[in-house]
């Protein structure tokens, strides 16, 4: 061949190869890259991307609103039930009973009941009754048989009514089971028709009745029928005694017609009534105290799933994708603390499991708990103006704050400070003031109540946890440690918080009082409120001024705490990340390390691709700080710092070497490059990744930080939120706490003594005042500052009634997990609680005095003499990190064998019973009956390039053991072969209920 021809052929071949490489490289990039990269490459429709973002944002807003409405609806029901059950006379009002000597019109009765019925969005809450017997008519019953049941029910109700000396009585609920064919025929009957049937067929009916109820002779039955139908001799005074007027037309063929209630009422004419179940206590029967409950309709904790996700696909995630990005379901609702064992049903990530082994000790700031995420952004605008305020010549002078290059005047700074949080507080204060005044409470109570309520409201809004628990020593220690770790964090807010001056607080107080006074000028009602407050609270102006100062101090304390917690969270994330890297670098075998680190990269990429832009911003805002602690900003080197296990320098060097080797090894280069591009694409979405050092070794640190932040979020649900509180946790956000709302610091023993009739005069006075305000609270429930639990609710343990059937699931501490769509029944009952007091395990019993000791056996100075729980039954409880008493109620299965030696505790409880009609794939609510044979997505999808490290991950029942096939073991050091055989049952079944 000539030289020219060879050159041409070679060139052509080269060209073809280049062409293929470019095309396939392009394709690969497009396939592997995320949506944003695709847009950058021009492979997708940008407007559709925008639309997706908008739709996703709207969906999120809607979902949040549904969830919040549902939670408020449920808490309203719990509060109402507890309140009514605690104060007997309230129950009468709810049931519309009246003093026989005083007649009320239906409208008046309705008005008495209204405060106890509410709606939040589409969520409806109303009382329901359990004081009637349910009789089922089977689907195979004939027309005659169905009619006969109605007749027998009518006759029996008449008998019961007279046995009870004509007291109003609820008798039966007749339920025609699905498939009963004769309802249309029954619907054709009028009241007169039914009476005629009774009269005509009475002997036949009475025959059947007497066969069933042998103690009721036929002729007695027949006589009673005559009374009902008006066939008896005194019918001239009182003809028929059956009343169907409360039944709408075409009732039996209507949606609710499958169930009809029969009751008897003595309101003048002594009649048996048929009515729809939805009318509730239509006969105004003196229902037994607790045969009465609440129903919440349309409760929902939303979680959308799609068949597939991706560009052009539905907005939503596969469940595995969701968990990969967020770690936990969208909403977790729990009471006092989340039951730890329940999370195993969605914890799919082997690395998360491995972390439990890897992450040994945290930094020893363990007295603080409850992380807050993303709250730093609230603090900054408040804190900044308060820094550096000093007195010059007797006048307060502010520090210099610039806004768009201009110096902001001091007054404006103050205004901004108040304004930043003012709305929330002022609305809450306004509501509280209205709250008091509307009730017409006595003047001296106003002052006391007002001051306390306002302070309480502020305390609630600022943050539940009280700062006094921190103590000076803890603050100093934390500040020291944080300063060491943060180094150049340079977070102005954090730094500044330590420098807010007394004068700064004073200035805030002044501004606050000015704003406060100005607020109550808008409307006639506001002015009325202000006048009433001024009239009834002596020295109102100085009270308000003090209030402002107090608020300033509270905010300072709270902000410090918020920031401290944010700092702590960041610290923990950094530690966790460092631990993971260190463990990977030093403690694992090469094969283990590769598998582990591959998973980290893969998971971090998955998380970042799967989150929506808004969520990603929140997420990254926090883990960004953590990354600063993982990487030296100057050199980009890992900081394998303070972790509780000290490194030698040599060990550190070796660790870094190992990690460096890993990322440059040929095996993983493809994955690393892919992930690197992923991080670039995230940055390209305008999100500040802050770390400019996008070198391969830093990629690992970032990925580890990302994973660590998700873990931190998942752990947050386990932090108890205190006594008598509900928590709503969403990923990457702090738990929204619906804590106790106690107006006058009334204690449980005050309430119990009051209901037992043994309260002192002071206690009675306190409880009466509290009761009035609590009632008003129920009326206004849901408004800003008025969301939470009443102290009365603390008399009950909130339990979740789970599946009943051929297999009874033990009741459990109340919790619900999205996706969950259901109606909920609530009723007061007793719970059966096993276990016994055990000081060593930190389980105590109400009614006894204990001295609490810390981990080293030293008394902490806390003596617990928790009030008798519900005034009657003792209860078990444990103490959380913040010295809150968390109620404990363990089911039978908690103890190994049910021995006669085990005592049982039977406290009052509110049983919360979801009435889920369709448990299925997308209606989880709680873990149902399962024999754990559902295989959750357990394959780490690695491309063929990395095939040798393919892992099939099984998460077995406790102890949780991650397994990788192909001989790659994990942190536990157990060989892959053995683990593969051991992994049989996989209790990961979310979002399937069973």
């Amino acid at each position: 061949m000539k030289k020219g021809e060879a050159f041409t052929l070679a060139t052509i071949i080269k060209g073809i190869i280049v062409f293929f490489v470019i095309v396939s490289g392009w394709r690969i990039m497009a396939d592997l890259s995320s949506t944003p990269v695709q847009y950058l490459l021009g492979n997708a429709n940008i407007s559709q991307f925008d639309q997706e973002m908008q739709e996703r944002f709207n969906l999120t807003q809607q979902m949040n609103q549904n969830a919040v409405n549902s939670v408020n609806g449920l808490i309203f029901a719990v509060n109402s039930l507890a309140y009514i059950d605690t104060y007997k006379e309230e129950k009468d009002k709810v049931l519309g009973l009246f003093d026989p000597n005083v007649f009320k019109t239906p409208a008046e009765r309705k008005k008495l009941q209204e405060p106890y019925m509410r709606s939040f969005g589409s969520v409806d809450i109303k009382p329901t009754y359990y004081d009637r017997e349910t009789v089922f008519v089977s689907p195979s019953a004939t027309y005659d048989e169905g009619l006969r049941e109605l007749a027998i029910g009518t006759i029996n109700c008449w008998l019961i009514f007279h046995d009870k000396d004509t007291e109003n009585t609820n008798c039966y609920s007749i339920v025609f089971e699905d498939g009963y064919k004769h309802l249309p025929a029954i619907d054709k009957l009028s009241e007169k028709d039914f009476l005629s049937y009774l009269e005509k067929e009475k002997w036949n009916i009475c025959y059947y009745l007497s066969e069933r109820f042998k103690h009721i002779p036929k002729d007695t039955c027949a006589n009673e029928v005559e009374d009902i139908t008006g066939g008896s001799w005194y019918s001239i005074f009182n003809s028929e005694n059956l009343n169907w007027e409360k039944l709408p037309d075409d009732y039996f063929t209507s949606r609710e017609g499958q169930q009809v209630s029969i009751c008897a009422n003595n309101d003048g004419l002594n009649e048996v009534f048929f009515h729809a179940d939805s009318l509730g206590n239509a006969c105004e029967a003196d229902t037994n105290r607790l045969s009465f409950g609440y129903k919440v309709n349309n409760f929902a904790l939303p979680q959308e799933f799609a068949e597939r996700s991706g560009v052009g696909g539905a907005i939503g995630y596969l469940s595995e994708e969701w968990l990969a990005a967020y770690g936990d379901p969208n909403y977790i609702l729990f009471y006092e603390k989340f039951p730890q064992e329940e999370a195993t049903y969605w914890e799919m990530d082997s690395y998360q499991v491995g972390f439990a082994a890897i992450i040994g000790t945290e930094i020893a700031i363990s007295t603080l708990s409850v992380i807050t995420m993303g709250l730093g952004r609230i603090a900054a605008p408040v804190i900044r103006p308060l820094v550096g305020v000093v007195k010059v010549g007797g006048k307060l002078v502010g520090g210099t704050v610039k806004l768009a290059g201009k110096i902001v005047p001091f007054k404006q700074q103050m205004r901004a400070a108040v304004g930043a949080v003012g709305d929330v507080f002022l609305t809450a204060i306004k509501n509280s003031a209205r709250f008091i005044l509307r009730r017409g409470v006595a003047a001296d109570t106003i002052e006391e109540a007002g001051e306390i309520i306002i302070k309480e409201t502020l305390r609630k809004r600022l943050g539940k946890e009280a700062v006094e628990e921190l103590g000076e020593d803890s603050i100093l220690l934390m500040k020291k440690k944080a300063a060491e770790a943060f180094g150049s964090l340079g977070d102005d807010a954090f730094d500044s918080a330590g420098r807010i001056t007394t004068q700064g607080r004073e200035a805030f107080g002044g501004e606050f009082s000015r704003v406060m006074q100005g607020t109550f000028k808008d409307s006639a009602e506001d002015r009325l409120i202000m006048n009433a407050l001024k009239r009834d609270i002596p020295n109102f102006d100085s009270v308000i001024r003090d209030l402002g100062t107090t608020m300033g101090k509270e905010m300072y304390d709270a902000t410090w705490k918020l920031l401290a917690r944010a700092a702590l969270n960041t610290q923990r994330t950094a530690n966790r990340a460092n631990n993971m890297l260190k463990h990977a670098a030093l403690d694992m075998s090469e094969a283990e390390r590769k598998g582990f680190l591959i998973g980290i990269l893969r998971d971090s990429e998955t998380m970042l691709t799967k989150m929506s832009p808004n969520e990603l911003r929140i997420f990254l805002a926090n883990q960004r700080k953590a990354q600063k602690l993982i990487l030296n900003q100057e050199t980009g080197e890992f900081i394998l710092g303070q972790t509780g296990r000290e490194f030698t320098d040599e060990a550190k060097k070796q660790a870094l070497r190992e990690l460096k080797n890993f990322v440059t090894s040929t095996d993983v280069r493809a994955l690393v490059s892919r992930t690197e591009r992923m991080y670039l694409s995230v940055a390209s979405r305008g999100l500040d990744m802050t770390n400019p050092l996008m070198k391969k070794r830093h990629l690992l640190a970032m990925a580890v930080g990302v994973i660590a932040t998700r873990l931190e979020s998942m752990e947050a649900k386990y932090y108890p939120i205190g006594t008598n509180a509900m928590g709503l946790k969403t990923p990457y956000l702090h738990t929204a706490t619906y804590g106790e709302f106690n107006f006058l610091d009334v204690s449980y023993s005050d309430i119990n003594n009051f209901t037992d009739g043994i309260a002192s005069t002071d206690q009675t006075k306190k409880v009466e005042s509290h009761k009035e305000l609590a009632k008003q609270f129920l009326e206004d429930y849901g408004e800003p500052g008025l969301q939470g639990m009443l102290p009365e609710t603390n008399r009950y343990y909130l339990s979740l009634t789970k599946d009943k059937g051929w297999f009874d699931q033990d009741p459990q501490r109340f919790h619900l997990v999205s996706p969950c769509q259901t109606d909920i029944l609530l009723e007061v009952s007793s719970c059966e609680c096993y276990y016994d007091e055990n000081e060593e395990s930190g389980v105590y019993k109400t009614g006894k005095k204990y001295e609490i000791k810390d981990g080293e056996g030293k008394p902490t100075g806390i003596f617990l003499d928790y009030d008798h729980f519900d005034g009657d039954s003792t209860m078990l409880y444990s103490i959380d990190n913040e010295h809150n008493a968390i109620k404990e109620c363990h089911p039978k299965s908690f103890v190994e064998t049910v021995s006669f030696a085990n005592p049982i505790y039977t406290p009052l409880c509110i049983q919360i019973n979801p009435q889920v009609e369709n448990f299925g794939e997308d209606n989880y609510c709680y873990h149902g009956i399962s024999d754990f044979d559902t295989t959750f997505k357990a394959v780490v999808s690695i491309t063929e390039v990395l095939a040798p490290f393919a892992c099939v991950v099984f998460v077995a029942a406790p102890p949780l053991i991650p397994v990788c096939m192909a001989g790659v073991g994990m942190a536990t050091g157990v060989s892959g072969e053995v683990l593969k055989e051991a992994a049989i049952d996989i209790p990961s079944q979310w979002p399937s209920h069973d």
Partner: protein
């Protein structure tokens, strides 16, 4: 001349007054106390054939307690003027504990992969013992029930067992104590009364439920004081009983 009009008016008024008087007297006269017709104190009256299934016999708790009882699975809530008192149930079948229905251990293996309705159907076939107020006295499943009832301010306990129970268990004792760590009383179950294949016995003068925490209860089955003590020690016993606590 007598004014007819006046006479008629007077007679009319008198008639009205008489009728009104009769009515008033009738209303104001205390009526003789009506004997209860529907509610009865005789336990046999509470037990009857189920209207939907002749093979089944029910204990009508509504009838027995005048509607004061709410029955849940493994629990009864009793409402009185004093408040709420609950009773909790459990059982043991040949040494294995259960809540309300006993299913053999291999049930879960057999039903692996089955849908819920399939599982339920198989559960109906395999259940060996159940505690509840619906009985089938001749279906081979051991049925028992304990009903708490308020009588004269205290609770008494009616115990119901069916023919299958009588046939399957070698013997039936009733043991009761206010605290099982202390004095335990014992006597044989009296099978002399009952109907429709259901036997009825009664225990009274016991108040373990008034304590908090509760350490007593009533146990009915193939159990004696010595076997109960052995159970408390943690020894396994191949016995069958039902218990209320």
């Amino acid at each position: 001349m007598i004014n007819m009009k006046k006479i008629i008016i007077i007679i009319g008024l008198v008639l009205v007054l008489v009728v009104a008087g009769i009515f008033l007297i009738s209303e104001l006269t205390p009526k003789p106390t009506r004997e209860k017709v529907f509610f009865t104190d005789n336990p046999s009256d509470w037990v009857y054939e189920s209207p939907t299934d002749p093979a089944e016999v029910v204990v009508d708790t509504y009838l027995a307690t005048e509607g004061s009882l709410k029955t849940l699975k493994s629990q009864q809530d009793y409402f009185t003027s004093e408040g709420l008192t609950s009773f909790f149930y459990q059982g043991m079948y040949k040494g294995e504990e259960f809540d309300s229905e006993y299913l053999p251990a291999d049930f879960f293996n057999k039903t692996r992969g089955m849908g819920l309705s399939e599982k339920r159907a198989l559960a109906d076939e395999l259940v060996a013992m159940s505690i509840g107020h619906e009985f089938d006295p001749h279906d081979g499943i051991i049925n028992g029930f304990v009903l708490a009832r308020e009588e004269e301010g205290r609770f008494v306990f009616y115990i119901f067992v069916d023919e299958d129970w009588k046939r399957e268990l070698e013997f039936t004792n009733i043991l009761w104590a206010n605290d099982f760590r202390g004095k335990i009383s014992q006597r044989p179950f009296d099978f002399s009364s009952g109907q429709n294949g259901v036997y009825i016995d009664k225990i009274e003068n016991i108040g373990w439920y008034e304590a908090s925490a509760r350490r007593g209860g009533i146990v009915i089955g193939e159990i004696s004081q010595s076997s109960l003590v052995a159970l408390m020690r943690g020894d396994e016993q191949d016995i069958t009983y039902m218990m209320v606590r």
